[in-house]
Structure formats: structure tokens, C-alpha cells
Symmetry: C2
Subunit: 374 residues, 2 copies
């Protein structure tokens, strides 16, 4: 059942339970299958995989060997954020549901870890996915990059690397907002070298507007931005409002947050630190709102309104979202992980209009006219 | 309240109640606002608007003046099919819900009549929409036509005309399949003249497979085809299987039916007669299935399966359907009429798999491997 490898000097101790990792386990913790420790010659270094929902996608010895490489740093960072966020949500879940951990591989290179908690008392559907993908850059992805102004040759086969964390949390109680975040790192290799960039964002989708919630959320994100560059929050807040636009309805998906792409400076390290701080601000920006509202009373009508808004969420994700569109059009895409972002249930009524001066109308007003919250 | 116009010879009698037509009425019949009769010199001709859900989009005098024009013929045909189909469905509805009739205009030219019955006992959501649109061809529409091989100049402003009927019926009982149909006529005018074509189709999406139902459905469509061209059914059945493909899941949306586009022969008149026969075959192909199954018993699990399949329906419509995509990307599109096709409620579960040898698995098997039904 166990394999033990001892390599000292450049030494690695591996306890690895020999078991298929790609199966869904009803109990995520069963998949913390490995613990590793490296005792390097210069200093003690460790990768403690009990801090992750599952073993890394890249083998631990490769991660250790390339520990200064941004690819490794990004993978380890998203693994840790995934675990911390899942555990923080499980602490709020009052039912017995826990995250189910699903580790998967992609035959063209790389894989991911999808964690889903479904049909909980507090969370109707919560998904936290990481993926670490390598391979040849698909032509639609290259075209999308070029359309954003990147200098990506169109006639060459380019290898790429992408590591990211992506999450959508759909709570049961309509007084608790939905949150989405995604942080990612890209490398594309062409004959002239490696291009790299980071992208990501966090955004909030309430069903009922609680201005204090929105301010707390934006303030937390702004703090993460300000310690790096005091122009970031303003720029990325606007980018978020522009991106999450359900164009045909003239509404934003929610009350925004941050969104950015193609970030490659001031240095690679500084960009990474910024992204890490953003990812680490998800819990303090969102979990307090869950705690505050998860026991709020609500009516059947309020639940129906949540379902209608979830329909709009589906519209944005399936019609406009770049990641979803790109993902689903990529041959061999793991569509279940991509569509994990969809709510458990949604509703569409023809010509639904909130009553005048209702709380529902107040929300729509803000979605049609994004505000500055701070 | 009434306006009466009498024009004899080239004569027109118009009784028109002066009332806003663009409002939703709880009772569609209130909108049968006009009855018209033309007594031409050569023969008696009539446009009896009580046969429609609302007054035509094009004014009746224009329709009469151009009665031999295909634009008029198509508009009158779809108006009649809309009414007959709505009435046939209302006869099956055991609750008190009736179609709500919503007439709308498009500022760039034309308009439509959207009829929706929602939250019925038999029909969870039933939409039957006609539109008659004129204006300058939007560039995305022109590009789509060129991509299908049409000779549409790219540098000119072209006027176009489009008239069509489109309908999706989502029943409450999971033993009753969903049906969709759409029949349309296009004209595009360029410096060299007018290009025209017809397109359309009818397709069935069951939640549980009843082979007799599927055979009846396909047989009815085949009969409509065979009286025009005995190669049509085979070609258009395959086209339907190919079109309604939820590519990322490797599943067809349903058990198919007919789908065709760019039909412009053998003559314009013959193509129209074929399309008319297809449109008129919707009731005999589908309504018997509603009658047969609307009182079937079903379990909560079977209802959940229907909701999951409806999630797939939403995926197809928002990600792949050409009409929806084209529609929503057109500035000023009437998105409520386009999205009328979405179910009232839908569901997404992560990694849902039907149990082995279950009726649900049997359906998926057919969706993955389309069959010949006749």
C-alpha cells in the first residue's frame, strides 16, 4: 500500500499510498495521500501536502527541483489557497456535506484537482478547482491571445504552461452573495524565448444589496491592491465592471471587484506576490459575509428571485465568459470542471420585472449602473 | 373605439380597435383586434385576423397589396401556424394558464408576436414566437451567411427581410418530451438583385425514451418531406443530428427530427410549400405525445433528471445555437423573445452519471449514438 523513498543529501522522503487518485472520494481527506519532506544541503525545505486537498499535479520531486521556477511557485500557491478556502467554507457549512475531491489528468499534459460541495445547508453548490496544464497551445487560445495584443506567432507550434485556481460559490440563502475568483499564470514558449503573464480577479454577485457587505468586500480587495500599486484597485475595479457585462441585458453580473489580465510586471516576482495577496484576500473578503447572512430568514419569493438571478449568471458564463468559451471549444477540455461554475438550479421567466421600489429593483439599478463603493 | 375603412374595387374593410398592441394581455384573445376583408375585382380575398394571435406585424393593406409576394405569404403562414399551435397546446393545458400575447416592434424595422404560457399544469414553459424583421443586414449576420458559402458582398450596406416562427415547449411532466421548431424565410438585396432562402426544422428532446413516440414523431416529419422530395427526410434528419450537438459532452440535444437551411428550390413556391407542410406537421407530430403522457405518474428523481437534461438544453442554446448567438450579439435584439427558449427551471450537478442499465442511461446512449428511427 505504501511506497517509501529515501534520498538524502538531495534527499526526498516519500510516503505515497498506491491508490488511484482520479476517483471521486466521498471524503476529500482520504485523498491527502502523500507527505513529503526534503532535507536539502543548504537549508531545510518542505512541501507539506497535508496543506493541499490532494497531491500536486506536478510530481513533488519536480516541484522541489524547480522550486525557484514560477511554475512551481504558482502551483504550490494555488494548492494552498484551494485547501484554505475549502476548509474555511466547510467551517461555515452546517450540514454534513464536505468537499468531494476529484483529481484528474489530461492526456495532452497536466491535470487538476476539482473540489465540489453540493446540496449543503449553507452552500447549494461550491466549486474550487485548480488546474496545471501543459502542452501545445491550441489555435483558438493563440488567436484569443493575439486579439488581446500579444505577440504570438500564428504559424508555429508553441508549447504553453497554465496554472490557475478558479472558484464559484453559490450559497443556499439568497441573502448570502455568490463569489467567484480566478487567478492564473501563463507561459508561452516561442523561438525567441518565454512570454509570461498573470491574470485573475475576484467578484461578488449579491441577490439582495447590503451596502456594508459590498464595501467590506471592495475594501478588502483594495487593501490587497494598495500594498503593491495604488493605481491597481481603480484600474482593475473598472476592468471588472466592464468584463462582467451581460451585454444583451445591459446589466453587470454583480457588484464587481477586481479583474486583470496580461500582468507581467514590475517584475515577475512582484506580479506573483500581488496575485498571491489577491488570492489570499478571498477568505477575508467573502467568508464574513457568509457568516453574517447564512442564518438570515428568507421567503419563497426571495428564493425565486435568487433563482432568476442565477439564470443571468448562467447566461454570462455560457455566452460571454472568455474562460468558459475558450475551455469548451478546446478539444479534450474537462467540461465538468469548467461547468462547475454553474449553479445547482436556475430559473428563467419571460419578461420578469421586479416590482417598483422593491429590494429586487434596487439591486438591478446597481447592476445597470455600477457604483464606486469606497 | 373602432376605425372602419371601406375601399371597394381594390377594396379593404378594416375594423380596427384603437388600442396599444404592444402591451402584454393576460388574455391573448383580447388582442384579436382586427378583422379584415378584401373584395378584389377578380376574386374574393380575405385576411381573417381572428385566425392569428394578434394583428400581423406588417399592416394588412400592405400584405393584401403584395399578396403574391413571398414575404406576405410567409408572414400569413407563420401567423396562422402560431395561432393553431397555441390553441392546440391550450387544449391540452389542464390548468387555467393561457398564452400571454406580447406584440413588439423593432425600431430598426419590423417586429414580432411572442406568445408565452408559463407555470401551467401541463406546460412548465411554452413559447411560440413569430418575427418579421426588415432593415440593414448586420455585419455578424452577413459574416455568418458568407461562412455558409453565400455570396454576400462584404463592403455594401444590404437590406434584408426575415420572417420566421420559432417555438420551444417545455412540459411539466418528464414523460412528455420537449419540442422545438423554427421555420424562416430570408431575403437579402444587393446590387445584383434579391437572394432568398428558407430554413428550419423540428426536433424532439425526450427525458425518457419511448420509442413509439420517437417513431411517430419522425414518421410524421418524413411524410411531410416525402410528398416534396424523397431525399429530404434522410438529408435533413442527418443535418438535425449534426446540428443539435452538445459538442463538449459528445451528446445530441435530443432524438432529432429535421433541420435544413439555404433551401431555395426547386422553385421558390415549391420550397415555400415544403416549409408550410413542415410547419403544419408540428401539431400532428407532437400534440399526440402530450396527450399520451401528460397524466403519466412520475417520481421526484424523474423530475430531477428532467431538470438536469434541461441544463443541457440551456448549454446547447447558449453555447452553440446559431440563432441564439446571432440574435444576442445583434444590437437592439429582443433578448426576451430569443431567450424564451430557455426552460423555466434547470439544474447542474457536478459529474452526474445515470445509474447503469437505468432508463436515464438508455436515453443518454441514444443521445450519444443517434439512431435511424424508421
Amino acid at each position: 500500500m505504501f511506497r517509501k523513498a529515501v534520498v538524502r543529501g538531495c534527499s526526498l522522503i516519500v510516503y505515497q499510498r498506491q491508490r488511484a487518485l482520479s476517483k471521486i472520494s466521498k471524503n476529500g481527506s482520504k485523498l491527502f495521500l502523500a507527505s513529503f519532506a526534503l532535507f536539502g544541503t543548504a537549508q531545510k525545505q518542505e512541501i507539506d501536502t497535508s496543506k493541499f486537498m490532494a497531491e500536486p499535479v506536478t510530481s513533488v520531486d519536480v516541484l522541489l527541483k524547480n522550486k525557484e521556477d514560477m511554475k512551481s511557485k504558482m502551483e504550490l500557491m494555488i494548492l494552498q489557497v484551494q485547501k484554505e478556502f475549502c476548509r474555511a467554507l466547510e467551517e461555515e457549512e452546517t450540514g454534513s456535506q464536505r468537499f468531494v475531491v476529484d483529481k484528474w489528468y489530461r492526456k495532452e499534459g497536466g491535470g487538476g484537482i476539482t473540489c465540489v460541495l453540493q446540496d449543503g445547508e449553507v452552500f447549494e453548490k461550491a466549486g474550487v478547482n485548480i488546474s496545471v496544464i501543459t502542452g501545445l497551445l491550441p489555435s483558438n487560445m493563440a488567436a484569443q491571445m493575439r486579439s488581446r495584443g500579444k505577440n504570438i506567432p500564428s504559424d508555429a507550434k508553441l508549447s504553453f504552461f497554465a496554472a490557475g485556481i478558479s472558484s464559484v460559490i453559490h450559497p443556499t440563502n439568497p441573502m448570502v452573495p455568490t463569489v467567484h475568483f480566478n487567478y492564473r499564470y501563463f507561459e508561452v514558449q516561442d523561438s525567441e524565448g518565454v512570454q509570461f503573464w498573470f491574470g485573475g480577479g475576484t467578484d461578488l454577485t449579491p441577490y439582495y444589496l447590503d451596502e456594508d457587505d459590498v464595501k467590506h468586500f471592495h475594501k478588502t480587495l483594495k487593501n490587497a491592491c494598495d500594498s503593491h500599486d495604488n493605481t491597481y484597485y481603480g484600474k482593475f475595479k473598472k476592468w471588472c465592471d466592464d468584463y462582467f457585462h451581460v451585454t444583451h441585458r445591459g446589466e453587470r453580473r454583480g457588484v464587481g471587484g477586481l479583474f486583470f489580465d496580461d500582468l507581467d510586471g514590475p517584475t515577475k516576482e512582484q506580479a506573483f506576490n500581488f496575485v498571491k495577496d489577491c488570492a489570499n484576500s478571498v477568505i477575508p473578503s467573502y467568508v464574513p459575509l457568509v457568516k453574517k447572512h447564512k442564518n438570515d430568514k428568507f421567503t419563497e419569493e426571495e428564493k425565486t428571485w435568487q433563482q432568476l438571478r442565477r439564470g443571468r449568471y448562467v447566461e454570462f458564463n455560457l455566452i460571454y465568459d472568455r474562460g468558459t468559451k475558450f475551455g469548451l471549444y478546446t478539444p479534450g477540455a474537462r467540461y465538468e470542471s469548467i461547468l462547475m461554475s454553474l449553479p445547482l438550479t436556475a430559473r428563467w421567466e419571460y419578461m420578469h420585472k421586479p416590482a417598483r421600489d422593491s429590494r429586487e429593483e434596487k439591486l438591478v439599478e446597481v447592476l445597470k449602473n455600477p457604483r464606486d463603493w469606497l
